[in-house]
């Protein structure tokens, strides 16, 4: 049945993706919910929340706020908080409650700007889409609001777009990417993981952007259109993810976000040109990154049928998916995807 889940818990929703993008930029983040969505984001989908203090809030909506559409109360609460907290901006993140009552985020943004002397970002997530949709919206909004005037390009300065724990599933990956580029005499700017708002403002000075997640592709295109910054897709640490074996003549299925999945495929095909590799994803599939065999998975049945019918030799997927196909007798390579299981790679 469409939408019925018997094995997997729901994946990270769009609101978690939006928070994941904005988390490290020093703003007040307000989840427009009654509390439960904030609990889900903080207690489960944002692993950095346990490591350091952050200005993350729930709007604390109550039934009458929703029924009467009392946006003015939210604005008043936010205006009050801004007088007590040091923040560089305020972001309002949508959830199912404002989606049901049809909250007008443009109006909410304008109302808030009149009362609050900070840049205001609104992300119209609804809790029904997946994390990458929320990330895509948040990346675009972030660069739209904060990217500054065109600066001179600094050679060797590389922007990494799309780094979030949801996509990379590893809190230390950004450090390793910086080391990776430092070894080549370059500087990697990992937006959202270690590099802050000042680097967003001077985003035009990077030589090129490397997009590590399909959710950041639209932002990369925007930066190319606006500043002429070229971009490419790929994952600089892909060699960490590829299992060392003989892939000649093997049928391989990779279930990941599209950029990492494609990067793993590329590595495998470097080792064995005759390997038949399919990239599948529960999340967005961008046509421009797509190969003919790539697939979008929607329901559990899609994945179960795929594995049962296609006789793969190797599956790269999050370990929580193993139990869906107990009959599979090939090699299952644990490729953790935080947005799927809520586990980080370093927790293995």
């Amino acid at each position: 049945m469409r939408g019925l889940r018997k094995y997997l818990t729901p994946f990270a929703p769009d609101q978690s993706g939006a928070v994941s993008v904005l988390y490290e930029f020093g703003g007040i983040i307000v989840i427009c919910d009654a509390g439960g969505c904030t609990g889900n984001i903080c207690g489960f989908d944002e692993p950095r929340w346990f490591e350091s203090k952050s200005a993350l809030f729930s709007a604390g909506l109550r039934d009458m706020d929703a029924i009467l559409g009392r946006d003015d109360r939210l604005v008043a609460k936010l205006a009050d908080a801004v007088t007590k907290l040091d923040a560089k901006f305020a972001a309002i993140i949508g959830t199912p409650v404002p989606a049901v009552i049809g909250t007008d985020y443009h109006a909410l943004k304008r109302m808030t700007e009149k009362k609050v002397d900070l840049p205001i970002l609104t992300v119209d997530t609804d809790g029904m889409e997946l994390y990458d949709k929320g990330e895509e919206k948040a990346w675009k909004e972030l660069f739209l609001v904060f990217a500054g005037e065109k600066e001179d390009v600094i050679l060797g300065r590389i922007g990494i777009l799309g780094m979030t724990p949801q996509d990379i599933s590893d809190l230390r990956a950004a450090d390793r990417i910086r080391e990776h580029f430092a070894a080549e005499g370059k500087t990697a700017v990992c937006f959202g993981m270690g590099n802050g708002l000042d680097d967003v403002k001077s985003v035009s000075n990077v030589e090129k952007n490397i997009v590590v997640s399909p959710a950041a592709l639209e932002a990369a295109k925007y930066l190319e259109r606006t500043y002429g910054t070229p971009y490419e897709t790929g994952y600089p640490l892909v060699d960490e993810l590829v299992y060392d074996m003989d892939y000649h003549g093997k049928k391989v299925l990779i279930v990941q976000q599209q950029v990492i999945g494609s990067a793993i495929r590329e590595e495998i095909q470097k080792k064995a040109k005759d390997a038949k590799v399919t990239v599948a994803s529960w999340f967005m599939i961008k046509p421009e990154l797509c190969s003919d065999t790539d697939l979008h998975l929607r329901d559990e049945e899609d994945y179960i049928r795929l594995v049962e019918n296609m006789e793969y030799d190797v599956i790269y997927a999050d370990p929580c998916m193993k139990r869906m196909t107990p009959e599979f007798d090939g090699i299952f390579v644990d490729t953790i995807h935080f947005a799927v299981s809520g586990h980080l790679a370093e927790m293995r």
């Binding site: 019925l4 009654a34 889900n40 929703a66 908080a81 809790g127 809520g342």
Partner: protein
């Protein structure tokens, strides 16, 4: 900008009165700060029992969560616990469902498909719905009836409406009603009692069991100790219910209306003299006398022993633990300790403890975990060297901490004894 967490002393609060509590200490007047100290507020299921876990208190039950994906996301934490494996299922809603309500038509089929895939037919399928259906005005009782007819198993609603958490019937009150709603009328037995309020049992050494047995009670039921559905059904044989948590009041009233079982309410207290007077009143209502000297003495000795080890203990008491932080703080001050800080949510019910604290510990500071300025909480001037509660432990990481949020519920003298034993050990 002063980067300082807002607080009030209990003396100031007492002077203001319960009708003038500062709005910084009233959660619905400000943004809710989200830190690990507030996780249990925003997401009760993340620690202990939230609606999802509580809804599965009926033995052999399963749950279908019908909601946008975001509402079920953190359930994998529960699913990884052995007792909850293969008991949670999801029917994910999309925008079209919200506009057309078509998800409601899918529920009977989804329930049937789940039951077909299980080796053993579940005793009940709980349908958990969320804020979205609250706003849509879904008649879930009717949907459950339909599903029940279609799938041939009992189906009950479970309302995870976070929007109503400060209303007359919050989700944790509602779910207590739901889990007892399957009980069918049975012939009463004079020597059977139900303990209502918690989703896990009292500690085995709690004197309440002995006191009840001493008063002629033979069988004491708790839903968490029911091994199967048949045993759960024997709860309707009870002569009376003991309500140990105020959130079970509505469920107890349901028992009274539907099954003609009356109830008596007792509070969880940490002041030994108040525990004794509560037991005396309870015994008088039953027309008996309780022999409670031994457990009382054990509790007093535990307090004394702790005092010998830590005569200079200065406490911070949090709210994410098994107790009312204001009552526990009052008990600690009565026992001769200092309580420097309390992190709690004030209400009319616990303001009575503030009044008493104001007389004997006027400088005790009261913070709200949920207030935005808690981002700047500074422990350096507190003088605290011991903490009770997960939230208090979060603010004072270097101090000895007793989480006091174990699933086995502490109660009565045994609760006091166990608390001070735990404090003596850290």
């Amino acid at each position: 900008m002063r980067q300082e967490a807002y607080f009030c002393t209990v003396k100031e609060l007492d002077e203001l009165g319960k009708n003038n509590i500062p709005r910084q200490l009233i959660s619905h007047t400000h943004l809710i700060y989200s830190s690990p100290a507030t996780l249990a507020f925003n997401s009760p299921g993340a620690e202990g029992f939230g609606v999802k876990r509580a809804g599965l208190a009926v033995p052999d039950s399963v749950m279908l969560i019908v909601s946008p994906g975001c509402c079920g996301r953190n359930t994998s934490v529960l699913s990884s616990m052995r007792a909850y494996q293969d008991r949670f299922y999801y029917l994910l809603m999309d925008e079209t469902d919200i506009v057309t309500g078509r998800h409601l038509k899918k529920i009977p089929k989804a329930v049937a498909e789940i039951c077909e895939g299980l080796k053993k037919k579940p005793s009940v399928v709980m349908i958990c719905i969320t804020c979205v259906d609250a706003l849509l005005g879904t008649d879930m009782e009717r949907v459950c009836h339909k599903a029940e007819e279609y799938a041939g198993v009992p189906v009950r609603p479970c309302y995870m409406y976070a929007l109503t958490r400060e209303g007359r019937k919050p989700p944790m009150v509602h779910v207590r009603q739901s889990v007892y709603s399957l009980l069918e009328p049975k012939k009463k037995k004079g020597n059977v009692v139900n303990l209502l309020g918690y989703f896990s049992p009292l500690t085995d050494d709690c004197e309440l069991y002995d006191l009840l047995h001493g008063a002629g009670v033979k069988t004491i039921h708790e839903i968490s100790r029911c091994k199967d559905y048949a045993q759960y059904q024997t709860m309707s044989e009870a002569n009376f219910n003991l309500v140990l948590h105020p959130e079970a009041r509505f469920a107890a009233e349901d028992f009274h209306d539907r099954l003609k079982i009356p109830y008596i309410e007792l509070r969880r207290l940490y002041q030994i003299d108040k525990i004794a007077s509560q037991y005396r009143a309870f015994a008088a209502a039953l027309g008996v006398e309780f022999e409670d000297e031994i457990p009382r003495k054990a509790a007093e000795e535990a307090v004394e022993k702790f005092r010998e080890i830590h005569p200079d203990a200065v406490f911070a008491v949090g709210e994410w633990m098994n107790g009312d932080p204001f009552e526990l703080a009052l008990a600690l001050v009565h026992y001769g300790f200092r309580v420097s800080e309390i992190y709690g949510t004030l209400s009319g019910e616990n303001f009575v403890y503030v009044k008493q604290l104001a007389k004997i510990s006027p400088d005790t500071k009261v913070f709200s975990n949920l207030e935005p300025t808690m981002l700047y909480y500074d422990k350096s001037q507190s003088g605290v060297n011991m903490t009770i509660g997960k939230d208090a432990g979060y603010y004072h990481k270097e101090c000895s901490n007793v989480l006091w949020n174990e699933e086995r519920q502490p109660y009565g003298y045994a609760g006091v004894r166990r608390l001070f034993e735990a404090l003596a050990e850290v």
